[in-house]
């Protein structure tokens, strides 16, 4: 990167007191320069993934793997789609876009507790007291984001929720959380660029001093995040967060909901080169009154936002390079409980995946008549993760070394999901 020479008396005077310019100062300098825009479309053909996270554990038996006629089937009817699958009648817009994704109906996992399930589905590992594993977004940010020096905004962005953390990959790969309006707080320092540079230089000196006192990893992590923050503050790419700038028609297509806006924001961020975006839609923990909640509340919001995203990505030619996933921490019991609800169920459930070269329009695997068991080959979180990584051209032989020196294979050595890739 090129930096213009230092300008201004104050700055020169200041620098004469201190030795050693730093990367951090270099970044700060960019604030003082005319901001050179990176083309907003730079990310168009770069690989990326969008995870639509359904917090609470969505009832996939009512959405994607229906059991009409079975006593576990619930009241909803299946409808035909433009793919080779049937889905729930309350997802009519998705029915017109099932040619873009596939359903994996043979997920079988073991974690039916929210926190454990969240962790497992985000990392491919079960919780372990001795090591914190990196989540999807952190792994992909680490693998793809690192190859994109021009990307100045975080390479892992979570919309409307917190996702899971970077684990042993370190805070530099942690999710950057924004709400669906894309508003980022506290962006403006309100002082002259030269002065920012001075402050950053002084800060760098004190940070290094503390780091050099050997107090553990966390001190240095803090300095890295300072650098990332400066990058972000000085970047024209922050425009990508301004979802309100989209044409009215587009906004309406996605829906005037947090999830709809979140999906639209995800498209903008991927366009700007962000390799991983998670969009959160909560409220799926339907232990009671599930059918009413789904029909009138959850499904319309999901249907509009998700179908708009798939359509939009396809129209812009981005779907070939962007993997899209839909999942939560687990599914819900085939059995309908006394409160007209369904409880946690991990043994047989469905997720969706498509884009980035994954084969669309199919249902992979199947469950038995009442949905309580997978018939034949079943798949796990690590299998899905491996498949998505593969679709993003990430080498499945990649091995991370945790801070303790323990080698850990990417996606926990999951196997590819047959029929999806």
């Amino acid at each position: 990167m090129n930096h213009s020479p230092p300008r201004g008396m104050n700055r020169r005077h200041f620098m004469s007191h201190l030795a050693g310019a730093s990367a951090m100062v270099g970044t700060a300098l960019a604030l003082g320069q005319t901001l050179r825009a990176n083309a907003a479309t730079m990310g168009k053909n770069q690989k990326a993934a969008i995870l639509l996270w359904m917090g609470g554990g969505p009832s996939s038996i009512d959405l994607w793997d229906m059991k009409p006629g079975a006593n576990t089937g619930g009241p909803f009817r299946p409808i035909a789609t433009n793919g080779d699958v049937q889905i729930c009648e309350h997802l009519p817009m998705m029915a017109q876009n099932m040619d873009k994704v596939s359903i994996v109906r043979s997920m079988s996992t073991r974690e039916a507790d929210h926190m454990r399930g969240r962790y497992y589905m985000h990392t491919g590992y079960v919780p372990n007291p001795n090591v914190v594993h990196p989540s999807y977004g952190s792994v992909i940010a680490h693998q793809l984001g690192a190859q994109r020096p021009e990307l100045k905004i975080p390479s892992f962005i979570s919309v409307g929720g917190e996702s899971e953390g970077p684990g042993f990959l370190g805070m530099a790969y942690s999710p950057f959380s924004v709400n669906s309006n894309g508003r980022v707080r506290n962006l403006n320092l309100g002082i002259a660029p030269d002065r920012i540079t001075n402050r950053m230089q002084a800060l760098k000196m004190m940070e290094s001093d503390f780091i050099n006192q050997r107090r553990g990893i966390a001190a240095a992590e803090h300095a890295k995040v300072l650098g990332k923050t400066l990058d972000l503050m000085s970047s024209r790419q922050m425009e990508a967060f301004r979802v309100e700038k989209e044409p009215t028609g587009v906004k309406e297509r996605y829906g005037n909901t947090n999830f709809g806006r979140g999906c639209l924001l995800a498209r903008r961020l991927v366009e700007a080169g962000v390799p991983f975006v998670e969009v959160n839609l909560g409220g799926w923990d339907n232990h009671q009154n599930i059918f009413n909640t789904l029909e009138n509340n959850k499904l319309p919001e999901l249907d509009r936002g998700m179908s708009a995203l798939l359509e939009d990505l396809a129209q812009r030619g981005m779907l070939d390079s962007t993997a899209v996933m839909w999942m939560g921490e687990f599914g819900r019991t085939p059995n309908i409980n006394g409160n007209t609800g369904r409880d946690h169920w991990a043994r047989s459930w469905s997720v969706l995946a498509g884009g980035a070269g994954m084969k669309p329009g199919n249902a992979i695997g199947k469950t038995n008549e009442d949905g309580s068991r997978v018939e034949g080959q079943s798949y796990s979180s690590e299998d899905l993760m491996a498949t998505v990584c593969k679709s993003l051209d990430i080498d499945l032989e990649t091995t991370f070394t945790s801070a303790s020196g323990r080698p850990m294979k990417i996606a926990n050595s999951g196997k590819l999901i047959e029929g999806l890739i």
């Binding site: 104050n10 201190l18 007291p129 917190e162 402050r199 050997r214 803090h222 909560g282 232990h287 009671q288």
Partner: protein
């Protein structure tokens, strides 16, 4: 011999002696005495006052109250040190050196009262030459009226987050009255309520959630959102996890492969909550959320079985099983659903506070609070599958805590005066591997660096902007703080009431520290601001610069740092105030400020 229990509460110059179980009624004595009189002399005096002469020697012999000021639990501290050192020796680890006085002082303030020391407080400690200055500081922070409010505020914050979360009472549909919860906690911690009593009240509470109501009982807020839905699964999970360190929620649906607890046990614990009912009365003017927690006769899930009121659950094989209230240790209680016959939550509270898991779980939680990691990870999982790093020490502290009236302040004192708490966070060649971040189990051979919690940072910034928030009521201050915290908190909205924070070491946190409103106020040079006061004080220029370091970092500046400050002043064209402002901004943004170290 008369069975008697005597409790002594002391302030700097007074003591209240409560004698209970005396017939025919309890006696209370209040006495004033010079502060240099050791409490050891009080023993015989008590005997004299009680006049019996034939009282149990337990009165004079109880160690807890006397130890408080003269040796602050030296015996327990020595035992902690011994057991920690044994592990160092076994692993051939040489521990780090002791932390400097300023480091230790800052740590203790942050951990006990939730904020950094002011420059006066830090200097006073550092210049004190007495041998027992650490004991004195700890006693002051724990017992001096000067700090009661901040002490209570800090622990109220910690426990609010545990009991109802950062978002409890702030989301739609929540019946929690946050102010009510905090009032209960604040009273409990200000009065140093014994921990067994405290927990008993939380588990068995009935009454109204909101202060101002005639049946107000703030403790109800813990369970108010957790008993109605999903067969009280949140109440079951939270109570077991918080007070026993048992993660039973994993066994709700099936016998867990990584956990010895069986599904049956989950539902037996769950049965204790099935008489409980929360009734919401909505928002009321001047009171906020109002709801009532009551116990009602439970007819069993069948609906007509009051005598043996049962719950049902479905096993994985599809068969349905039945469960009645049985505590985790196998103790069965009367199966009656009639509240008059068996109040299930009362019984659960009684059983909980007697359990060995009860004292171990609080000891582990407190150890993790002060040392950064508990003896198990996570600290609230003491299940049989999770072997503690220092099992003997955990047992010992649990027993001591129990035999010292479940006194949280004594427990805190033992921990903060122990050797491991006093070590530097600077590692040496031999203990660099002792780092839980590397996946190693903690040996506590150096102090583990950790971020301030969001609330600690907030209160510390208030110290740094002293003057900005002086005249608000406690409730108003809490409300402002809570608004600020909300920007970092997301509730998952699941039946476990999970939530996460984007605070720790993330870009939003750094942005807030770079540019947030609080930081703008903290680094203001306006009239009356911190910087303005320093600039206009009578100190020398060097002292003025130094005071920034004392205030932010609790230490004096190094020579290079004085030069750094001078550069910043020069860069501002010699404007002293603006230079200090830049320096202050830098100090507050350093890792040294934001970490507890």
């Amino acid at each position: 011999m008369i069975a008697v229990k005597v409790e002594v509460r002391t302030g700097p110059r007074w003591a209240i002696i409560l004698g209970t179980n005396l017939t025919p009624k309890p006696s209370v004595f209040c006495m004033f005495y010079p502060s240099n009189v050791s409490l050891k002399f009080l023993g015989p005096l008590v005997l004299l006052l009680l006049g019996g002469g034939a009282l149990s020697p337990a009165i004079a012999g109880r160690p807890d109250s006397e130890n408080r000021t003269d040796n602050a639990g030296a015996q327990q501290v020595a035992q902690i040190d011994k057991m920690i050192v044994e592990v160092w020796e076994a692993y051939q680890i040489v521990p780090s050196k002791l932390a400097t006085d300023s480091e230790w002082c800052r740590r203790v303030f942050l951990d006990i009262i939730g904020r950094i020391p002011t420059s006066d407080e830090a200097t006073a400690f550092v210049v004190d030459n007495s041998n027992d200055k650490k004991q004195k500081l700890v006693a002051t922070l724990l017992h001096d009226d000067l700090y009661t409010e901040e002490f209570a505020r800090n622990w109220t914050t910690v426990w609010t987050n545990l009991l109802i979360g950062r978002s409890g009472g702030t989301t739609n549909g929540s019946m929690v009255n946050r102010a009510g919860m905090q009032k209960f906690l604040r009273d409990s911690f200000a009065r140093n309520k014994p921990y067994d009593q405290f927990v008993h009240q939380l588990i068995s509470a009935t009454g109204t959630t909101a202060p101002g109501d005639e049946n107000f009982n703030g403790a109800t807020n813990f369970l108010i959102d957790k008993v109605n839905n999903e067969k009280a699964s949140r109440a079951t999970a939270a109570t077991s996890k918080l007070f026993l360190g048992l993660q039973v929620q994993c066994t709700q649906c099936h016998n867990h492969p990584f956990n010895d607890w069986k599904q049956q046990k989950y539902w037996e614990m769950n049965a204790f909550f099935r008489q409980s009912r929360a009734v919401g009365r909505g928002m009321q003017a001047g009171m906020g959320n109002v709801a009532t927690l009551t116990d009602q006769d439970f007819a069993g899930e069948n609906g007509n079985n009051f005598a043996e009121a049962e719950v049902y659950y479905e096993m994985r094989n599809g068969l349905v099983a039945v469960a009645y209230p049985v505590f985790v240790d196998g103790t069965e209680i009367d199966r009656s659903g009639y509240v008059k016959q068996t109040n299930r939550r009362q019984q659960l509270a009684d059983l909980t506070i007697k359990s060995p898991y009860f004292s171990k779980s609080i000891v582990n939680r407190m150890w993790a609070h002060f040392l950064g990691y508990g003896f198990t990870s996570p600290a609230d999982d003491l299940g049989p599958h999770n072997i503690p790093t220092h099992p003997a020490l955990l047992n010992y502290l649990g027993q001591e805590f129990r035999s010292h009236d479940h006194d949280l302040r004594q427990l805190m004192s033992w921990i903060v005066l122990s050797k491991p708490y006093g070590l530097s966070s600077r590692q040496n060649k031999s203990n660099v591997e002792d780092d839980p971040l590397l996946g190693e189990s903690p040996k506590f051979s150096h102090f583990y660096l950790r971020q301030m919690r969001a609330e600690q940072l907030y209160e510390s910034l208030i110290v740094a902007t002293r003057g900005a928030q002086q005249n608000q009521s406690y409730e108003e201050q809490e409300r402002i703080k809570n608004n600020w915290l909300q920007q970092f908190t997301t509730a998952f909205g699941t039946d476990e009431g999970g939530e996460s924070t984007s605070f720790n070491g993330t870009i939003p946190q750094v942005l807030m520290m770079f540019n947030g409103d609080m930081m703008k106020a903290a680094t203001s040079t306006a009239e009356g601001s911190f910087i303005d006061q320093i600039v206009n004080s009578n100190m020398s220029r060097t002292r003025k610069i130094g005071s920034l370091f004392w205030k932010g970092l609790g230490r004096k500046p190094k020579r290079a740092e004085l030069a750094l400050a001078q550069s910043l002043i020069n860069a501002n064209g010699g404007d002293f105030a603006e230079g200090l402002r830049d320096m202050w901004w830098v100090i507050l943004n350093t890792n040294e400020f934001i970490f507890i170290h």
